[in-house]
Amino acid sequence: MLSTIYALLFYVATILIVVGVALRVRKYAVTPAPLKIPTTPAPTTKGGVVLRMLREVIFFESLFKSNKWIWLFGWMFHMALWLVIIRHLRYTIPGNTPFWLDFMQPFGKYAGFAMVLGLAGLWARRFLVDRVRYISSPSDHLILVLLIAIGLSGLTMKFVSPTDIVAVKAFMSGLWTFQINTLPTNPFLLIHLGLVIVLLIIFPISKLLHAPGLFFSPSRNQADNPREQRHIAPWAAELEK
């Protein structure tokens, strides 16, 4: 029964995040940028724009310029999150895992601590810095709480109260082929998976859209070449007729 509910929730959440994000990305992609507004100095070529974007995504370059504390906590959280996600692939891939994924396991394991620490730092700022306190809505706090709870419940399973991980793998990897295997009933596991489902569902209707949205930010993704290349939005071209 419980396994079926979780399986169904995973399917629903997956559909919601995939369809939700796809619709959002399509909206961003089809909405024209009527004017050239890269924040300058900006790269003058497409290749340069790709590099600028990579620096933003990998190093959080602008944030580093802005505020070293936010950068430290934010970068630590995001990079740790990647390691943790990669580590978790082993639980969703059916059968044996590739060598590189086995190699990543210990990194992902301890990245969980860095992730929670980064999140805790970001959350602390929402209380301690008067400016950030002022701009924080309940949802800004709750998303941090959600992520921290996911991290802590996961760490608890890893280091305090292990679950039957083989059964978890059987459950998760079975979902690919619509097989519903029995999910262990470790409470931390159920909390962990339940919160992940919540995270997937809210992704396309929350500020978590910053992840795909960044790539569509005109101030970062436009090349600085307005004198060389005429840029005009379709609706603006209509005005010339």
């Binding site: 050239k36 507004i37 934010g74 309940p138 929350s206 930010s217 600085d224 004198r227 609706w235 603006a236």
Partner: protein, 505 residues
């Protein structure tokens, strides 16, 4: 508010972050545009009865027509990186002057009516109903932003508050709450061709006076031609250059450079304005109409090149948008970028060696340079990114011996707005202008103390006017701000010019 009421903020450091003081700038607002200034621009004369529906319809339209509007409203995570980056926040401590909080004034309404979370859980995501008080709050705080883009440099996603401010002002104008200062000026451009409403006759007379002044001064006849068909270069410059100090000294500088370079050039009475306040009010159609005047003038006069004079936002519109708004420029000489900045021209001539320069003429000055926001963060000069920082400094250093930069965190892409940009250069916002200038003024005071800086050079008509007005409040003379081409003008020795040695010999 009268000038005397403003408390000058005392900062120990240009970027010193204040503790927030909620409500400290509540209610400050510029005069509303009356019907005559609204209707000329195609806006309703006063607040329309169905303002709510029209506001929401306009927001929906913007989300479909402008990717920045849609993406920026969605993706802010409220990290706080921008909260201490706005000069108006640093100068006023009003938390609604923090860029993210300024965006949230509109984002909260966007969420309420256009997002799932805001429709069903408004309290959770800080969404709120659109009321007349919200419109008034928008009018107040979206006129406390100079659209300088400093926040966008530091945002991890490049969210540009200027885009939100422009959108909000456009919405406000569309429901009948336009700003008098900007709309009146745009109306003058539509009617006469420049912000001041100078007609061709007055303009010609002014230029003739200037020619006489230059001849009296140098003994050389330097022309300031207007409406001369067949000239190679059309100079488009802010109309402040025709009458205001220190702008006019810059105009004299351009004329001397053109004279010495031996090029033929002309001004246009039809397009006698580089400024384009259509940018400030965020209205594409008005910005386009103003830009089209330049296209018409270039065609009518048969010029081969277009060069812009010293003006910050004008250079943004020229460099970044002119091709979009008034291009393509295929009828001009393809050997030159369209348009060029006067500093690109002057620096080119300096490198070619066509200008004879005597740096010692500026020895009585110790200079620093104020990067204008729109030039620094929304445009470029020269071939490579960052040329907008190097070329003005190269020119200053070529004509002056004493030059010092201000605090590196307050120049180049991190430059601070003068406090009067973005359509706020009006007396009804003087309190805000004085406070918003405090970070820049503090950076200037530092180099005055450490290096004896006496003057600050600028290449923006608004910066120049703003500084000459607010600098006295910070202990400087009003002529402590100078045009870059004023410095060029001081140093340039024209062929046949009577020098002091000649006079004494």
């Amino acid at each position: 508010m009268a000038d005397g009421d403003t408390q000058i903020p005392k900062l120990d450091d240009p970027l010193q972050v204040p503790c927030i003081k909620p409500g400290s700038m509540d209610g400050l607002q510029p005069f509303l545009a009356g019907p005559e200034h609204q209707e000329k621009l195609g806006f309703p004369g006063q607040l329309v009865p169905d303002w709510k529906e029209r506001t929401l319809a306009k927001m929906k339209e913007m989300a479909e027509k402008n990717r920045a509007f849609q993406v920026y409203l969605d993706i802010c995570v409220k990290c706080g990186a921008c909260t201490d980056k706005c000069h108006y926040f640093l100068g006023t401590a009003d938390p609604k002057n923090m860029p993210v909080a300024r965006q949230d004034l509109l984002r909260s309404v966007y969420r309420r009516y256009f997002t799932f979370a805001g429709k069903y859980f408004p309290w959770l995501v800080g969404a709120r109903d659109l009321t007349e008080d919200v419109l008034k709050e928008w009018y107040s705080y979206y006129h406390q932003c100079s659209e300088c883009r400093r926040c966008s440099v530091f945002c991890p996603y490049g969210i540009d508050t200027a885009e939100i401010t422009m959108a909000a002002r456009d919405i406000l104008a569309e429901v009948g709450m336009g700003q008098k200062y900007a709309n009146e000026i745009i109306g003058k451009v539509h009617d006469v061709g420049n912000n001041l409403g100078l007609n061709p006759k007055a303009l010609t007379a002014t230029l003739e006076d200037l020619e006489e002044d230059i001849e009296d001064d140098t003994g050389v006849s330097v022309r300031l031609p207007i409406d001369e068909k067949g000239a190679d270069i059309l100079l488009v410059t802010p109309s402040a250059d025709f009458f205001a100090e220190p702008h006019i000294d810059g105009l004299i500088g351009y004329a001397k450079v053109f004279h010495q370079a031996g090029v033929s050039w002309t001004l246009s009475s039809y397009a006698s304005e580089a400024a384009n306040f259509g940018l400030f009010i965020g209205n594409y159609e008005n910005m386009r109409l103003v830009s089209q005047r330049i296209r018409k003038a270039a065609k009518d006069l048969g010029v081969k090149r277009i060069i812009f004079g010293e003006c910050g936002h004008a250079w943004r519109v020229a460099y970044s948008y002119l091709n979009t708004l008034a291009g393509p420029w295929d009828f001009l000489d393809p050997n030159y970028p369209v348009p060029q900045h006067i500093l690109e021209f002057t620096w080119g001539e300096i490198q070619k060696g066509t200008l004879k320069l005597d740096k010692s003429k500026n020895d009585h000055l110790t200079l620093t340079y104020h990067d204008s926001c729109n030039v620094a963060r929304a445009s470029r000069m020269g071939e490579t990114p960052g040329g907008q920082f190097e070329i003005p400094r190269n020119v200053i250093k070529a004509v002056c011996n004493n030059y010092v930069d201000m605090d590196p965190d307050t120049i180049h892409e991190s430059t601070l707005c003068c406090g009067g940009g973005g359509g706020l250069l009006t007396d009804d916002l003087m309190d805000l202008r004085v406070k918003g200038a405090s970070p820049r003024m503090t950076a200037l005071q530092q180099v005055t103390e450490s290096h004896g800086v006496t003057h600050m050079a600028a290449i923006c008509a608004i910066c120049k006017t703003q500084f000459s007005k607010v600098m006295p409040k910070y202990g400087y003379d009003m002529d402590s701000v100078v045009s870059v081409h004023q410095l060029v003008s001081n140093a340039i020795i024209l062929d046949g010019q009577e020098t002091e040695e000649d006079a004494t010999a």
